[in-house]
């Protein structure tokens, strides 16, 4: 049950989104792009200067800055126990 943010995942690591924090347009855009609680994501790579990040979600590739990835709380799949949907809905 290890919770962390997307930024802390290593390249190639898979995780499940627990929540998307923040109250701004970026949070909304992230969710609209399909990064909602319960979905699984995989970190593909980071850009030459370490930022932005590229992730794979819902079968496509999405780039985002680390500052944005920081708002995404994930549960690393290695430690995943159950789907976090109920938790996210509350």
């Amino acid at each position: 049950m290890k919770k962390t943010t997307l930024t802390n995942l290593t390249v190639g690591e898979k995780a499940t989104v627990v929540s998307v924090n923040g109250k701004n347009a970026i949070t909304k855009r992230l969710m609209e792009m399909g990064v909602v609680p319960g979905v699984s994501v995989r970190v593909i790579k980071s850009a030459p200067f370490g930022d932005p990040l590229e992730i794979r979600v819902r079968g496509y590739h999405l780039a985002m800055r680390k500052s944005e990835a920081d708002a995404i709380v994930v549960q690393s799949s290695k430690f995943k126990v159950q789907s976090s949907e109920s938790e996210a809905k509350s």
């Binding site: 930022d51 780039a63 809905k89």
Partner: protein
């Protein structure tokens, strides 16, 4: 509005088909209106081109820079027609961006001259079903009949994604048609379904609205919900994706294992930490090289062509104001507009290919960290680089930047990049005052100065950008949540269509302004006429003509005529100079002298500055005229340099010092005194501010 179009639909069915067909084409109002919506990269443009062929027009929505694309779609053997409104590429309809705002206004029928659509074609990429369906759930909330055009089915199959189209249609309770636009497959079925949906206008239930009991209630208020109510919005987004997940699981047999796609393999190289940057620099250099130097050949040809046309008109028409207007005002003005076309065509050719292949988002991905230091988006890089050749195509290229504030910031700093038209001015100044000088004995001072001018432009751009982003264009750091679409082969037909639409827009929108200002500038320098000067001039030129016609018959005659010619030319040059000094432009030069005096410029330089508003390099030829050396001298002419060195102010002191030259160069770096740039900035931002 809805009832109106229903009535038209009714009448149309009973009306004589032949008359309808004609009236539908003559009068767009009587045809059904269909909105084309879809995610970026879903194949929307390809479908739009396939449906409308060349019958499309591109403009802007009033007051904003969102592109408005419309076309006519004739189907069922030309018996029916639909007006197709191609909405901008969208991920969502919640109006965070201007594109989304406009799309919402179109769907709710709130825009002038755009009827509320009778039906929506939702273009859905089969390889990216979940995220594409998100937009569909939003479209369904508008209660306009939706028909899904499912694209990239073959690609999905190759990826082992098997989509049960029938099941999908059942679950969503709307028609789903598989299309392959490039081969015109599925178009007829799409036509049939769209027509059916548009005629069957009763507000229908659909899978999404009936799945969520609260959707009905939420929907009404949700469309008008502002960004404030975050919790509600997030709940709604979550509900939509939950619904989509259910639909997806029932209608798609997903691939069992995760395989690395070809796109990802390409990306291992193209966005590699080291090779990715090397390849990016190579591509940028190629683009820059093309617009900076290769475009010169067609540009020179255009200039020569218009020069020859001008000469031809001058010789074949009687001397007079009309001829002068035609040659020096209109023909030179049109030439001045068209001379930009090679650069614009080439740059947009590259831009379209980079966008279509999916490389543009990779470039932004690679450069974002760097550009963020300046407060700009990664996509601002290419427009800024292009501006070193010319700000016109550069500013037009900022259209790829989605955020309006980022875009305006980029547009505002693009003119600080030292464009190629400034080079002749730098060259003249350096050759006149700093030629042969070196620093440390071996570094050419001229080279250092040119480099310094470029660096100064970049430095000021960074500072201005920094200030703008913190004041006028203050906004939260632009979100960089950007899709990296799979690599695709560009569709060359679409690329060329896009390139020519851009070129057409430039000629129509900026070109007219540039032409008008050219004529005004010409008039400023041409009037008031000095009767004596003009008659003398015509006499002189007819003599020249006469001598030229006699040509090089014999050597003796030739040398005679050369003497005569140069004498006459001398007279003519003097008269030209007098004319300019006495013109309104000359008076304006005197008028602005107090303002430019602190910079060390006298009124003659003022006149040259006014003239250089037409194009920066015109400064050189105007100085030539005003210093009596004739307008045909160029920036490497020793005569002109000597004239500049010898020039005296009215009070007898030297007009130019090395400091004046430096000041002028810096002035050219900083001042946005290029009417074409101003015209394009105005057109691209839709305002003067």
């Amino acid at each position: 509005m809805i009832s109106d179009s229903t009535i038209t639909a009714e009448t149309r069915r009973t009306a004589d088909k032949k008359t309808y067909k004609k009236s539908a084409i003559r009068n767009p109002q009587s045809a059904i209106t269909v909105a084309l919506a879809g995610n970026p990269n879903a194949g929307k443009t390809t479908l739009f081109n396939a449906l409308t062929g060349m019958r499309q027009k591109v403009a802007n929505y009033p007051g904003v820079t969102v592109e408005r694309k419309e076309g006519f779609w004739r189907f069922s053997g030309n018996q029916n027609a639909a007006r197709i409104i191609d909405l901008p590429g969208l991920y969502s309809l919640d109006a965070t961006s201007l594109d989304e705002q406009i799309a919402r206004d179109v769907l709710t029928g709130r825009l002038k001259n755009v009827p509320q659509p009778d039906a929506i074609i939702a273009v859905v990429d089969a390889t990216n079903l979940e995220r594409n369906l998100y937009l569909v759930t939003q479209l369904l909330e508008y209660k306009i009949p939706v028909v899904i055009a499912l694209t990239m089915i073959d690609v999905a199959e190759k990826q082992n994604l098997l989509i049960d189209t029938k099941k999908l249609s059942e679950l969503l309770q709307i028609p789903v048609v598989e299309v392959k636009a490039t081969q015109k497959k599925g178009i007829d079925e799409l036509a049939e379904k769209v027509l059916q949906a548009a005629r069957n206008k009763t507000p229908k239930q659909n899978g999404w609205l009936s799945a969520d009991d609260s959707a009905e209630v939420l929907n009404e208020s949700f469309i008008h919900l502002s960004l404030q109510d975050n919790a509600e919005i997030n709940k709604k987004i979550f509900a939509r994706y939950n619904f989509i997940s259910d639909v997806y699981q029932e209608s798609v047999k997903p691939k069992q294992t995760y395989e690395t796609s070809l796109s990802e393999k390409i990306d291992r190289v193209l966005t590699h930490k080291f090779f990715g940057l090397v390849i990016l620099i190579a591509i940028l250099l190629l683009v820059f090289q093309t617009i900076f130097s290769w475009a010169n050949l067609p540009m020179d040809l255009l200039e020569q062509g218009f020069g020859a046309l001008g000469d031809f008109v001058r010789t074949s028409m009687p001397e007079g104001i009309l001829t002068d207007l035609l040659v020096d005002g209109v023909i030179a003005g049109v030439g001045g507009v068209l001379v930009f076309l090679p650069q614009i065509l080439l740059l947009f050719f590259f831009l379209s290919i980079l966008e279509d292949t999916g490389y543009m988002s990779r470039a932004a991905f690679l450069l974002d960290r760097l550009m963020r230091g300046v407060g700009l988006h990664g996509k601002a890089f290419l427009p800024l680089l292009s501006s070193f050749a010319c700000a016109i195509p550069g500013i037009m290229a900022t259209r790829t930047i989605e955020s309006p504030k980022d875009r305006i910031a980029t547009i505002m700093i693009a003119p600080f990049m030292s464009c190629s038209a400034r080079l002749p001015v730098y060259t003249l100044m350096i050759a006149t005052f700093f030629a042969g000088q070196t620093i440390f004995g071996f570094v050419s001072l001229g080279a250092v100065l040119i480099l310094a001018m470029y660096a100064l432009g970049i430095f000021v751009a960074v500072v201005v950008g920094w200030i703008l982003k913190r004041t006028l264009l203050k906004a939260p750091p632009p979100p960089f949540v950007m899709e990296l679409p799979p690599y695709r082969m560009p569709n060359f037909k679409a690329v060329f269509l896009n390139v020519f639409q851009r070129a057409g827009m430039f000629v129509k929108r900026a070109g007219t302004v540039i032409l008008a200002i050219s004529i005004i500038l010409w008039a400023l320098m041409y009037f008031p006429r000095n009767a004596e000067v003009s008659s003398l001039k015509s006499q002189a030129s007819s003599e020249n003509q006469f001598l030229e016609n006699r040509g090089d018959e014999t050597a003796i005659e030739n040398s005679n005529s050369e003497n005569l010619e140069s004498e006459d030319l001398g007279v003519e040059i003097k008269k030209e100079s007098e004319q300019l000094k006495n013109s309104y432009a000359g008076k304006l030069g005197h008028f602005i002298e107090p303002v430019i005096q602190p910079l060390g410029f006298d009124w003659k330089i003022g006149v040259a500055l006014i003239a250089s508003f037409a194009a920066r390099e015109v400064l050189v030829s105007t100085l030539s005229i005003i210093y009596n050396v004739g307008k045909d001298e160029n920036e490497e002419s020793e005569t002109l340099m000597q004239a500049v060195r010898d020039a005296k102010k009215d009070d007898g002191t030297r007009a130019w010092t090395p400091l004046t030259a430096l000041t002028l160069m810096v002035f050219f770096v900083l001042a946005i005194q290029c009417m074409s740039t101003v015209a394009v900035v105005r057109r691209e931002t839709n305002s003067w501010t």
